[in-house]
Symmetry: C2
Subunit: 213 residues, 2 copies
Amino acid sequence: MNVKVVSRILEANDRIAGENAGILRQKGIYSINLMGAPGAGKTSILERLIPALNGKRKTGVIEGDIAGTEDAERINSLGVPVVQINTGGACHLDANMIREVLPELPLDGIDILIIENVGNLVCPAEFDVGEDMKAMVLSVAEGHDKPLKYPLMFQKSSALIINKIDLLPHVGADLARIRKDALALNPRLKIFEVSSRTGEGFDSLTEWLSGLR
Amino acid sequence: MNVKVVSRILEANDRIAGENAGILRQKGIYSINLMGAPGAGKTSILERLIPALNGKRKTGVIEGDIAGTEDAERINSLGVPVVQINTGGACHLDANMIREVLPELPLDGIDILIIENVGNLVCPAEFDVGEDMKAMVLSVAEGHDKPLKYPLMFQKSSALIINKIDLLPHVGADLARIRKDALALNPRLKIFEVSSRTGEGFDSLTEWLSGLR
């Protein structure tokens, strides 16, 4: 019974995700579903990336949180279009939520749409929202055991952004092990190492993102 | 329709949680549902706490993860009884999972049962498993905005263990703001500040835990 209900929910979600993808493609928008644990630094990464992309690609952002508008306010102060979704209690964004807010964005003026999911290493990976690509952020402060403990997100993501590398001298995380275990789960995973605090590593991430179409 | 299904799931869960609570009470076991984001340091805290409690209270542990047995192996090496639950894909433990594994533990030899939930700041707070108390771990590396973004877990927890305070000089987190926002959500929240890396703050946490009955 439970499984049947879940499967119907996922089928309905996939149908709406397909419709979202059609709308975004028609507008020439490349969309990224950005996932990661709470506090991995998803919004801080956008605060570095969006100004760096400025002049190359026009960005728009959908912020997903259980509650609050703090992330949307941070993005809004960068001068790009942003909409905040408050899921109430849901631990992930789904395609229907994205469909509801797409009309709130000036889609004709957006080249890259970044959808920042709710902070969670599990459920966001299970729900497509119509994106071209899933990407995930992992902070080195979370430790090197995350690929083995949360494999689905690493398998579903096209890019892994390892953040807070400035903390490496102060935490016990083994960067080589993160890379090895993540690539074992997903050999085509594109891996970036950055620090949203110092700005290290953002040049190659920006260059890669600005080439996505 | 969705809401009805969820409500039936939660009702069934609460009934089983009540049965678990009855079994644990009968054995004189105090149980703690330990929650927190991935990489907050839940297992590392147990690696400090369990040896410190040794001689005062006998501990047992249930480890919850999507996949893998790394956490249970770490606890096993401390010489206390431990069972690993692999949820497969579920982002939280539920009462039925706990009921399934209780017979695997030597309940007559346990005073405090610590149930380490799946790393997730959202769903674990929604499912009682029969515990006497919920407690949560928050790493300062996750930033100070978590109470406002994930309010339910702060509201449901009796204790907040703020971990990795050794990283405070290297991250931008405002400890006073965490305390203020968490207490605004839950004025009775008991707050501890610790570093599982240096051992700082564990004396008062251990003293408090060893007094729980």
